[in-house]
């Protein structure tokens, strides 16, 4: 019911820049994921939207209103804190009920709503306990329930699933996705987890050093990275980045290993990006290039082969039935439709 607009938002502590001149339009009802390495300013951005941190400069708009001078309580946002922020002296029930109580919800309405929120995060049997008597993952779910117990203008969720076990994380992910579609509330969601980002987001903003590197749908971010950082950050395993040059329509690694034909003019310095998925694994001699296996990993769903091209290593993804051993030689071929080139100096993408 509200869009969130950040205009040239900066946060500095002395000389240190936490968030740097960031502009971002988060559409009404959109699920926006902030993705980036630790310390890149995700939490700081959230806290500024919530009103817990005062921006050094820039504007924050929620809906039709500039909220820079509004207190957190007047911004009508609900937040899941990275470190939960549960009230230790209250029971889980009272924790979840607090935003309702303090906003004057009629008593009769509170209990059913708290119970519903608790059920959504599978916490029903813990309502009488204090936070101290819960595990980390359970506490995190209390924080989540406290946010979803009411319908605010904006949800701010700071790594709300980071402490859950793998199975519960998948369940909660689906629950959150369902909930955000059902409630149609603008959501800003911080995560380190790429799968979470990819599955939940309408759009992903990839951040580094307080600057948004790329903003786009999960597809765009994954298939059309704007620069080296995004290419190397998104995907698991991350995209292989091979330094080399282009001569006569051929990509050669730094040590002169001829890798793959590529439709580009000659360049003396270039980085080739290729995802593990786009390297096909063959028997020795059957691909474009033979290479020895440095390490072989089998995850059950797939096999990952780390191979050596000159002194650079890349990861290829093989069939899940493939069995190889260290130092075996395999043949590899690159999928020519999914190769990316980057300028190593500007780190920008070179469009083919």
């Amino acid at each position: 019911m509200a869009e969130v607009i950040l205009k040239n938002l900066s946060k500095r502590w002395g000389d240190f820049v936490g968030v740097d001149n960031q502009s971002l339009d988060i559409h009404d009802k959109e699920f926006l994921v902030l993705l980036g390495p630790s310390g890149c300013g995700k939490t700081t951005t959230m806290r500024m939207i919530a009103g817990l941190e005062e921006p050094t400069s820039g504007e924050i708009w929620i809906g039709e209103r500039q909220v820079n001078d509004d207190l957190p309580k007047d911004r009508d946002v609900a937040m899941v804190f990275q470190n939960y922020g549960l009230y230790p002296h209250m029971t889980i029930f009272d924790n979840i009920a607090y935003p309702l109580k303090v906003r004057g919800t009629p008593k009769a309405e509170i209990r059913p709503r708290v119970e519903r929120a608790a059920a959504q995060v599978e916490l029903t049997q813990f309502l009488d306990r204090k936070p101290k008597a819960l595990s980390g993952g359970q506490r995190q779910r209390v924080a989540l329930a406290r946010a979803i117990v009411r319908t605010p203008k904006v949800f701010l969720m700071d790594e709300p699933l980071s402490n859950l076990d793998a199975k519960l994380r998948v369940t909660m992910r689906a629950e959150l996705k369902h909930l955000s579609r059902e409630l149609k509330v603008t959501t800003v969601y911080v995560t380190h987890d790429q799968i979470e980002a990819m599955t939940l987001a309408d759009r992903v903003a990839v951040m580094k050093h307080g600057i948004i590197q790329q903003l786009g749908t999960p597809d765009e971010i994954y298939n059309d990275p704007a620069n080296l950082f995004v290419a190397g950050f998104i995907g698991s395993p991350a995209m292989n980045l091979v330094r080399g040059r282009i001569e006569g329509g051929q990509f050669l690694t730094e040590d002169g290993v001829k890798l793959s034909p590529i439709a580009s003019e000659d360049r003396s310095e270039v980085v080739l990006g290729v995802r593990a998925d786009d390297i096909n694994v063959h028997e020795a001699g059957e691909g474009d290039i033979d290479a020895p296996i440095y390490a072989f990993e089998n995850t059950g769903e797939a096999s990952f082969l780390t191979v050596e091209w000159g002194d650079q290593r890349v990861i290829a993804r093989g069939d899940r039935h493939l069995r190889k051993d260290q130092d075996d030689v395999v043949g590899l071929s690159l999928n020519p439709d999914h190769l990316y080139l980057f300028d190593p100096n500007t780190e920008k993408r070179i469009r083919l």
Partner: protein, 290 residues
């Protein structure tokens, strides 16, 4: 020597010191409280009269009840005022509060003064001839200029309370700042985002989490207020009349000035009762499980 024996040998000196300076005088005063106990009457320190001193205090001595009353009101007022003011100051001075830094250092000053010194300096400040307050009121509120503060029973009592509150605020403030600092900041932020106003955050989040520290502060201050002596002694010496005569002062007067050491001992033992109660509460809060 076995470790087992050694550990007793090692604590023995401390035990002996405590016995000589605390336990033995305590037992001796209990014994004295059951004697006629006149310093000026030889042999009376061994002349046992049972509980007569106690019944005397209860039924024959209105000045005892006067001191009970004075001590009670004094304790209630000083504990209440000091705690409230210290809490307010702590909120302003705590991390994230509105004041800070230099002010904190300044704050500790009154606490560095001995209570007797506080008593003396307040007596001077309220001196009708050349006192600071006298001069101050002379300018601000001329009708109050000629009031002789320490000569009026109610005003003298008020000055005693004021001096005590002034002297104790720093310590309580520092303890409460410590208490406030240990409240996780994110619980306060969470409440703000949840929609709580400043007052509700204080009432629902800060105060309950500060509870145990606050309890300890109130109990400690009650103990200190109950036993106040030196400040009163220097400031009003219990007067005018007996208007500011607290129990400790009453005990001192009866014991040292009138030489009724047996009677004084019995009143001292009557004071032990609320003290033990407070100490028990204190221990309960300080050594609380988890």
């Amino acid at each position: 020597m076995r470790d087992n024996t050694l550990k007793y040998v090692l604590v023995l000196p401390a035990v002996l010191v405590v016995f000589a300076t605390a336990i033995w005088p305590l037992m001796e005063s209990a014994r004295l409280s059951a004697t006629v106990g006149r310093l000026n009457r030889p042999g009376s320190l061994d002349q046992y009269i049972g509980l007569e001193n106690y019944t005397w205090a209860f039924f024959e001595e209105p000045s005892f009840w006067n001191s009970v009353w004075v001590t009670g009101v004094y304790t209630l007022l000083t504990v209440g005022l000091t705690t409230l003011l210290a809490l307010g100051l702590a909120l302003l001075l705590a991390p994230g509060g509105r004041l800070r830094s230099g002010v904190q250092t300044l704050l500790i000053l009154p606490f560095a003064m001995s209570p007797a010194l506080i008593g003396v300096s307040f007596r001077f400040m309220f001196n009708p001839e050349f006192g600071l307050f006298d001069a101050f009121f002379g300018v601000v509120m001329p009708p109050l200029a000629d009031v002789s503060w320490l000569a009026d029973p109610t005003l003298a009592f008020a000055v005693c309370v004021m001096a005590d509150v002034w002297g104790w605020i720093p310590f309580l403030t520092l303890v409460l700042i410590g208490g406030l600092a240990s409240i996780p900041q994110d619980t306060i932020e969470a409440a703000q985002v949840d929609g709580a106003s400043g007052w509700r955050v204080f009432r629902d989040i800060t105060l309950p989490q500060l509870g145990p520290v606050l309890a300890v502060v109130i109990i400690l201050k009650s103990i200190f207020s109950l036993k106040t002596f030196d400040q009163i002694f220097m400031l009003t010496n219990g007067g005018p009349g007996t208007a500011t005569q607290t129990l400790s002062h009453y005990i001192y007067f009866n014991g040292m000035k009138y030489g009724q050491i047996g009677y004084a001992a019995s009143v001292a033992w009557l004071m032990v009762i609320p003290m033990i109660l407070l100490t028990y509460l204190y221990a309960k809060y300080v050594f609380r499980k988890n």
